[in-house]
Symmetry: C2
Subunit: 272 residues, 2 copies
Amino acid sequence: MMFNLSPYFRKLETRCQKIESNLCIGIDPDPDKMPPKLGTGAEGIYSFCAEIIEATADSAAAFKPNLAFFESIGTEGWHVLAQVLEHVPADVPIIIDAKRGDIGSTARHYAKSLFEKLNADAVTVNPFMGHDSIKPFSDYADKGVYALCMTSNPGAKDFEMWFDLYIQIAKCISEWNTNGNLGLVVGATKPVHLANVRNEAPHIPMLVPGVGAQGGDLEMILAEARHHPRHKMLINISRSIMYASQKNDFARAARKSANAYRDRMNQLMNAR
Amino acid sequence: MMFNLSPYFRKLETRCQKIESNLCIGIDPDPDKMPPKLGTGAEGIYSFCAEIIEATADSAAAFKPNLAFFESIGTEGWHVLAQVLEHVPADVPIIIDAKRGDIGSTARHYAKSLFEKLNADAVTVNPFMGHDSIKPFSDYADKGVYALCMTSNPGAKDFEMWFDLYIQIAKCISEWNTNGNLGLVVGATKPVHLANVRNEAPHIPMLVPGVGAQGGDLEMILAEARHHPRHKMLINISRSIMYASQKNDFARAARKSANAYRDRMNQLMNAR
């Protein structure tokens, strides 16, 4: 069965193929972990992110900034993020990790803020409030929308696994995917969950966090990824790349770490 | 059994008692519904919100701005909100409706942004990702945290009602309430759900949206509220107050609407 990719997933596929990578690099600037010389203010965070992006772009299938780390700067946080995003090359998709979710009439405002004001190519959303909380995002047919399904944190067991809720979410996202622009966030920490989601939603692309600092198993994930085109299984790594070094060589260390992850992922992908 | 109220709920209780009101006024500025003379820019939104707050503060037990409506302005949105909040009298609690939720290490940044940068007295959070996504908020013992439980939108049926997930959430929030500063968001649209949550979590204060534009039944809600102190059942109304008039008399109309809601609520509360 052939599918025409939606504009976002076509952009992602093109990028993945061009650089032979399905590595998504998370941009989560934490002043406590940044090189001390940069300071902890808005300017330091801007410089840190800009340098990381420029040093790692060659191996990045996509960049994923998490809004929390910019909002904790204060009222200028969104402005800092907008400036940071100017350093992302035009052909590299930007996935804004915002995990928003609200009633339909309010979700429209969140969608506008992320897609029209920050110019995200894709976003993450929290599906808890159901269909009308997701639709205002997926109505932007040229954009991508990854719904949380099974996350990589300890609390995932509290509600996401309640009577296999995550499987029901995968099923609904498949049904609601009329624009072909929905995806799922599925953590790398539990292999069986990844397989269950893939069975329930075989055509839905995944964004997989939790590898690296969170302890997810790269080998296991790539054994599954092997069966899919790269854009359908984007592996996100944040801390292990951004904080590869906390000294002045942080950008070079980040580049080295990103390249190593990309190469290791390709090695595992090709080990058919 | 006696409880010492946590600082946020004490502030809320004091306010509710002082003005005999459990009306929470939602601040959701939508340029499409604002008086045309104000324009649709950041300045118009600021003026609109400031005038509404000053006109309605006398009957407001709390104000609840929703971040979506400020973020859709763009990068200056947070700055506009900070300016708007300066118009809220010091003894009126500010509940920032943000519905954030992320892994623990990221949630800490969201908590910092809302409590330390925007100086919220309380926030709403999305509980989907479980305990470690809520704890960084409730660790601010002097602040309040309302977790979504059963929302007032059509999509509430999709996942919140999955094997009565909302009841499980109420149960967990009761267990996790070690600082006595947790609350629940329970929509006004379905009476049976409100009763179920109250049975499962009898000591947890509620924030009840969905009355007014969303069609929730004020009589039914107040019949339940009658049995509790005011701060334990805050009724939120947004659109029916903010957009009582879309002409130049909008502030006066909002004041009239807010007063009418407060009086009607007191009438129903006293009809024992």
